[in-house]
Symmetry: C4
Subunit: 218 residues, 4 copies
Amino acid sequence: MFDDVRTIVAELHGELTGHGLVAWTSGNVSARVPGKDLLVIKPSGVRYSDLTAGAMVVCDLHGEVVEGEWSPSSDTAAHAYVYRHMPEIGGIVHTHSPYASAWAACGEPIPCVLTAMADEFGGEIPVGPFALIGGDDIGRGVVATLRGSRSPAVLMRNHGVFAVGRTPAAAVKAAVMCEDVARTTHLARQLGTPRPIPGEDVHRLHDRYRRAYGQPPA
Amino acid sequence: MFDDVRTIVAELHGELTGHGLVAWTSGNVSARVPGKDLLVIKPSGVRYSDLTAGAMVVCDLHGEVVEGEWSPSSDTAAHAYVYRHMPEIGGIVHTHSPYASAWAACGEPIPCVLTAMADEFGGEIPVGPFALIGGDDIGRGVVATLRGSRSPAVLMRNHGVFAVGRTPAAAVKAAVMCEDVARTTHLARQLGTPRPIPGEDVHRLHDRYRRAYGQPPA
Amino acid sequence: MFDDVRTIVAELHGELTGHGLVAWTSGNVSARVPGKDLLVIKPSGVRYSDLTAGAMVVCDLHGEVVEGEWSPSSDTAAHAYVYRHMPEIGGIVHTHSPYASAWAACGEPIPCVLTAMADEFGGEIPVGPFALIGGDDIGRGVVATLRGSRSPAVLMRNHGVFAVGRTPAAAVKAAVMCEDVARTTHLARQLGTPRPIPGEDVHRLHDRYRRAYGQPPA
Amino acid sequence: MFDDVRTIVAELHGELTGHGLVAWTSGNVSARVPGKDLLVIKPSGVRYSDLTAGAMVVCDLHGEVVEGEWSPSSDTAAHAYVYRHMPEIGGIVHTHSPYASAWAACGEPIPCVLTAMADEFGGEIPVGPFALIGGDDIGRGVVATLRGSRSPAVLMRNHGVFAVGRTPAAAVKAAVMCEDVARTTHLARQLGTPRPIPGEDVHRLHDRYRRAYGQPPA
């Protein structure tokens, strides 16, 4: 079932390793199955080099396995919560990418000091609560934090990044850009005092980016 | 039209990814078409792995598309402005490379504390103004800053790098070296107090490098 | 003899280079030969690109060569000591991975400020004593430190990492994750004050990870 | 002439790029031709991907070209000076590797806080004088500094690394290890106060490493 979605999810994990966002097995991508109350996610503890489309796990939106040979990611409950509560979201990525997780360990949002952040995140990247894995706590923290922000990524305190998008590829892009700006802003903080971009310029940049960047819809 | 220039521009984007200067789609290379009031540039929002010579966009020097299937880079207006006002320039590179952008976020020029900087940049790498994308503001800031300096690269405040050269390959080299010296000087600042090179030695190094480095003209 | 173990040990060295844990020849993997008082280890000073299964050295648990064309790693005595005193351990990895070795050079344990550390290490990663190579001093320091901790990795002061596991692959995973969390916690310390995870939450995370992460036993 | 030496020198440049020691064309390897007053060195300004054995340049020990189609490295005078004054040296590497060059920009020797440094360098890595390129000044500074040290590498102030060895491969190893320890010690300095290794332990480690590491001579 759902071979196309499985293939997309399996292949997008290659972006996590290629961009240095994950170590060993510590990150995952999921996708909502279009038109169904189902998601496709990485199996737990399986190395990225062993991920095939057939190894992906299909779950319902409460995290129960519907189809798959393997146990799903231990983060499945968090992904499922987000899909239940954010119907506009079609893909989710979770990583412990190093610079973003450093901000998360300090409980500090990433300040908007780069035009690329204004473009992609519409302002700072916010911090969500500390939450234990296993129930709805992480998902609830992700959703609550994202709802108070224009950012498609949230830094979960002492943990790492959850990034969302209308498609799984958009969520991967948000996770990649989150680490990129987390690194540049970290380097800027080491150097001196990065200058914030005035709020109205952040708005202008974000609005223009959403309207004018990339190719027009086909 | 202009297949050679398209091929060069498409291939030079591989240097941006290979040297770690760009994330996702956030940087671009352009070239002036020799003898014409035209430029060739990356299409907007297209991933580096999908760039072919045929995907490059030909624009006039006001950024209007002359030939190409895709919308051009959202930075085209800035490139076009530079080509209009600096006739000696044949190539331009724009990146958000992380160490250089950290200096840009702090609004600090990179001080000349390395002989390699004296060689390539003839002194510090200067900071240009904060400018919004879309009109002539970025291009005007790039040109004004480069005219006051021997450096082929400028750090646009809260944004990133614009690097220029007589050829697109020379502009790519300037962008690569800009990030390289931005990193080493950042590391030196973390360690202690990097010692400036006396101005007259900077001049000697720069003059010698321009005269004697590399292979004699064919 | 023991071709399977030799093959595993030779191949696991590729994880050390692939994850950036080693420079030139400065790290090694060993495995206990199941059911025998023997270990298999890297030859001394041989580059990773030249490691074949046949180049691995078989030693007894006092570090004496039993079979092999090459001299064994100069760290063999330390590995052998650990196998003699920790019968549950089936694999050992030694590296000078950069972030972890920076903590070791400062003689500071890595504090548990990340859920991934609670998961994998069950708390902080401890520091072992400064010890000279060649006799039992390093092995003794490794064993004494690991016995006082739930961590499968120890930072030997002014030296580097020893990581252990029930299998050599598990030891490699511990070495990879040790560098990963050493980096993120280092970055967090540069940024501000990373917040410790309360001890009881560390226990809950570690217990759950050991019980529920990954695939159930076949 | 000297095809074997040319091949070795050309191939060793791949170690510089593979270990991240160089950007664009900013580093070089040379070898003494055994039994001759000649050296083989990289051509100036040629990219690493274009280096073939045939492109290497043969010079005498005053830097004059004896054979080759290309102009030799602009650092040839420095290499030649070292070969003239250190007859035991068979290979030299010059880089601007980032962490080592950061120490050089600050004019600080790298302190011996790692057993790997005691092993390879026998103590701190010393700083040589600021010197302009083109005459004997750089070579003189390299030789004077190396003679006062057991280290096979020197940090030339505001410039970069010169590393030497009995063979060109040994010089490459010294350059790789220099950057490796420059990075770890830099990270340790950011973290806190790295603890020096007592001088007598440095001696013991260095002596043992020279006697016992690696494979016995054939």
